[in-house]
C-alpha cells in the first residue's frame, strides 16, 4: 500500500498516514483528498508523508529539494489548479528538530485546500523560492527569511521586511531566540541611536540590496567617522553623538 512507503515526519511511530485532531478516522484517508494519491503517483519518492489533522486538513510532506517542481505541478495541472497561494510560513518546534516551511494552497476551481510542508534541518535552511509561480510569495518568503532565517534561492528581493535591514540579533521567531531579544535593553537603545536617519532617505534604498545601515558600534564609540576634510562640522540635530549625550 502506498501509505506504508514512508512515515509522517512529525509522528515517526505511526506508519505512513498519521491522524490527529478530534475527527473520526475515514476508511481510506487519501481517497478523501484527490491531490494526495495524485502527488504520490507523480512524485513517488519526493512525497515523504501524509497527515490528516483537525478533521479535514491534509498535509503532504515533500522533499525540500523538489518543492518547486511539485508546487508548479500542483498549480498548473488541470486536475488540481492550486492557483491561490494563501500563505507561506514556517514552524520551529525547537529542540533542534527540523524547521518546517509551510505552504497553504487553495484551488479555487475545485474548492480544495492543501497544505504542503518541507522540512529543513537547522544547518541547511535553504529552499527554492516559489515567487516565479506566485507573486504573493514575495513578501511572505521575505517574512520567513526575516523571522526564521530560511534562505530562499532565486528570490528577487531577499531583504528583511519587518525588522530593520541592519538588525543583528538574528531571527526572532526561532525557538532559540529569547523573547526580549539577544542584546540587553541598553545595547538595543545604543544601536537604535547609532543609526543615521539620513541613511533611510537616499536613492540607494531604491536599488534593493544595499549596504547595512548600522554605523558599526566600535566606530561609533569613538565618535562619528570623519564626514569631510574640507570643513569643520558643528553638531546638528542629525548628529547621533550629540543626541545620545542629550538623552543618555
Amino acid at each position: 500500500m502506498s501509505e506504508s512507503i514512508s512515515s509522517g515526519p512529525v509522528d515517526p511511530e505511526s506508519p505512513g498516514t498519521a491522524v490527529s485532531g478530534g475527527a473520526s478516522l475515514p476508511a481510506n484517508l487519501e481517497a478523501v483528498h484527490p491531490s494526495v494519491p495524485a502527488l504520490r503517483a507523480r512524485f513517488d519518492d519526493a512525497i515523504l508523508g501524509h497527515e490528516l489533522v483537525a478533521g479535514d486538513e491534509h498535509i503532504v510532506y515533500v522533499d525540500p529539494a523538489r518543492n518547486f517542481e511539485i508546487l508548479q505541478w500542483l498549480k498548473d495541472d488541470p486536475d488540481h489548479r492550486y492557483t491561490y497561494l494563501s500563505d507561506v510560513t514556517a514552524v520551529d518546534y525547537g529542540g533542534g528538530r527540523p524547521l518546517q516551511v509551510v505552504y497553504q494552497l487553495f484551488s479555487i476551481p475545485h474548492r480544495r485546500h492543501l497544505r504542503i510542508k518541507a522540512e529543513l534541518s537547522l544547518d541547511a535552511l535553504e529552499i527554492e523560492s516559489v515567487v516565479p509561480l506566485w507573486q504573493s510569495a514575495n513578501w511572505l518568503e521575505r517574512e520567513v527569511w526575516d523571522m526564521f532565517g530560511v534562505t530562499f534561492r532565486n528570490h528577487p528581493d531577499p531583504r528583511r521586511i519587518l525588522m530593520p535591514e541592519g538588525y543583528e540579533e538574528g531571527h526572532p521567531l526561532r525557538k532559540d531566540f529569547p523573547l526580549r531579544g539577544r542584546f540587553s535593553r541598553a545595547e538595543q537603545t545604543r544601536r537604535a541611536l547609532s543609526q543615521d536617519p539620513e541613511d533611510y532617505y537616499v536613492p540607494s534604498e531604491l536599488a534593493g540590496g544595499r549596504e547595512p545601515q548600522l554605523v558599526p558600534w566600535q566606530e561609533f564609540a569613538g565618535g562619528r567617522p570623519p564626514m569631510s576634510t574640507t570643513h569643520d562640522s558643528t553638531p546638528t540635530s542629525h548628529d547621533p553623538s550629540a543626541r545620545e549625550t542629550g538623552e543618555g
Partner: protein, 425 residues
C-alpha cells in the same frame, strides 16, 4: 543605460551630505557637472508619518516628472511581534493580542482565532454561539468598511462622507461597549464560546444599526458614486486583472473588484454561511472605483446577513459544556467536587490543546484571514500564525502604482484598505 538618480533633499544641511561629501550648494566644489534636466529622477518619500498612508506605511517613490517609475514600500514600523508573544501565553490569553492587530474589525480577529483553536481541538461550539459570532463578524465587517469609506472620501477630497460614516461607526463602538465592555479592544471570544452572552436588548441595537447604516450608505453614495471628481480620481486608476490579482495574492474586496468571485464565506463555508441568503458583489475593471463599489455593496449584504442572523438567533447556552475549556458554573463549583477540580486545573494550567494543528480561514473585512495554530499538547501555542490579508494586499502596491501618476498613489493606497497593525503585527 539606466537613468541617473538625483538626490533631492532640501532639509539636509550642507555638512551632512551623502557619502560625507559636501552636498551641492554653497559649499559644493565647482567642478561638479550640472545634471541635465531630462535625466533626473526625483526621489519622493511618503510616510511613515503621513495621514494618507493610513498608518505608519512608508513609500519610497522614484518619479520621472509626475510619473512613478519605481515604488518601494517599507513596513515594520509598528512591529510588535504578536506571533512571538503568543508563544508565551496560554491559548485564551492570545485573544487580546488578536484584536490589537486589526483594531478596525477586532471581533473578526477574535472569532477567527477562537475558531482555529476550536477546530484543532475538535470542539463544536453551541448553535447560539455560532450565530452570535456571525453577527459579530458581519457587524465588524461594516465597522471596518465604514472607516475605509470615510478615509477614502477624505483622500479623494470629500469631507462630508467622513462625518457620516463616523457617525455610524460610533453606534458600533457603543454596541461593542455594551457587549464586551471595550470599544476597540473587544477580546470577546474564549475557546469554546464567548466571554459572556449578549446583553438584553443588544440584538435590537444591532437591528437598528443595520437598518440605519443602509440609509447612511444611500446618502454617501449620493455624494460620491456619481460625483465627477470622484469618478475622475478613481476610474481607470490602479487597474489589475483578475489573473494577476490571484497570482499576487489579492483577497477580499480587492480580488472581487477584479472579477474573481472568491469569497471564503462561499467557497470554504464556516458557521452555516451556505444557508444564509447573501450575494457576493463582483467588479469587472479591477480599478479603484470598482473596489469602492464592491465594498459599498458588501456593507449592504452584511446588513442583510445581520437581519437573517438575528432572525435565527436560537436560545440556549452560549458556551460549550466542556470542562476542558470552559469554567463550570459557580453553583457546580461550590457543590460538586469534580467541577471544582476542573475549575482548579483550568485556572492554574489553562486550556490544554492536544497535539495537532489547524489552518482556519475566514473572510475578514480586508480579505482572507487565516489563523494557523500549532500545538504540541501543552497549554501554550508552539506556533500561532496569522495569514495577514492586508500584508499580502499591500505587497501589490508597486505593481499598481508604477507607471501611474503621483496623485494616484494616494488613491490606490486608499483603495487597498490596509491596516498597519496587522501588516506589521
Amino acid at each position: 543605460m539606466p537613468k541617473q538618480t538625483l538626490e533631492l533633499d532640501v532639509s539636509r544641511t550642507p555638512e551632512m551630505g551623502a557619502d560625507f561629501r559636501p552636498a551641492r550648494g554653497l559649499l559644493a566644489p565647482t567642478d561638479l557637472p550640472e545634471p541635465t534636466l531630462d535625466s533626473e529622477n526625483m526621489l519622493i518619500n511618503i510616510g511613515p508619518q503621513h495621514p494618507a498612508t493610513h498608518g505608519v506605511l512608508r513609500l519610497l517613490l522614484e518619479l520621472d516628472g509626475e510619473t512613478v517609475v519605481r515604488c518601494v514600500p517599507h513596513i515594520g514600523y509598528l512591529h510588535s511581534s504578536f506571533e512571538k508573544l503568543g508563544e508565551y501565553r496560554d491559548w485564551n490569553q492570545v485573544v487580546p493580542l488578536t484584536d490589537r492587530m486589526d483594531y478596525l474589525a477586532p471581533l473578526i480577529y477574535n472569532c477567527a482565532y477562537a475558531m482555529a483553536v476550536e477546530k484543532m481541538m475538535g470542539i463544536e461550539v453551541t448553535e447560539r454561539c455560532r450565530v452570535v459570532r456571525v453577527i459579530c463578524m458581519e457587524l465588524d465587517r461594516i465597522f471596518s468598511h465604514l472607516l475605509w469609506l470615510g478615509t477614502w472620501a477624505i483622500d479623494v477630497g470629500a469631507f462630508t462622507p467622513f462625518l457620516y460614516s463616523f457617525q455610524e461607526r460610533e453606534k458600533v463602538y457603543s454596541l461593542h461597549e455594551a457587549y464586551t465592555g471595550a470599544r476597540i479592544t473587544t477580546s470577546a471570544t474564549r475557546i469554546g464560546g464567548m466571554m459572556a452572552d449578549i446583553p438584553v436588548g443588544w440584538d435590537q441595537g444591532v437591528r437598528d444599526f443595520a437598518n440605519g447604516v443602509v440609509k447612511t450608505l444611500d446618502e454617501i453614495e449620493f455624494l460620491l458614486s456619481t460625483n465627477g471628481i470622484h469618478l475622475g480620481r478613481t476610474q481607470g486608476v490602479g487597474i489589475i486583472s483578475g489573473e494577476d490579482a490571484l497570482n499576487y495574492g489579492f483577497s477580499g474586496p480587492n480580488l472581487r473588484a477584479s472579477g474573481v468571485p472568491y469569497d471564503v464565506r462561499k467557497d470554504r463555508p464556516y458557521y452555516d454561511y451556505e444557508t444564509y441568503d447573501f450575494d457576493i458583489p463582483i467588479g469587472e475593471h479591477g480599478d479603484c472605483y470598482d473596489r469602492y463599489m464592491v465594498r459599498i455593496e458588501e456593507m449592504r449584504q452584511s446588513a442583510r446577513l445581520l437581519h437573517q442572523a438575528l432572525d435565527r438567533l436560537p436560545e440556549g447556552p452560549i458556551n460549550v459544556q466542556d470542562p476542558r475549556v470552559i469554567l463550570p458554573s459557580k453553583t457546580d463549583l461550590m457543590n460538586d467536587m469534580e467541577s471544582m477540580i476542573h475549575h482548579f486545573k483550568l485556572v492554574m494550567e489553562g486550556v490544554k490543546a492536544p497535539a495537532g494543528e489547524s489552518y482556519m480561514a475566514v473572510e475578514g473585512s480586508k480579505g482572507e484571514l487565516g489563523m494557523y495554530v500549532v500545538s504540541d499538547g501543552g497549554s501554550k501555542p508552539v506556533r500561532w500564525r496569522i495569514r495577514p490579508p492586508s500584508f499580502v494586499n499591500l505587497s501589490v502596491i508597486p505593481k499598481l502604482v508604477e507607471g501611474g501618476m503621483l496623485a494616484d498613489v494616494i488613491m490606490v493606497n486608499a483603495s487597498l484598505d490596509i491596516v498597519l497593525g496587522e501588516i506589521d503585527r
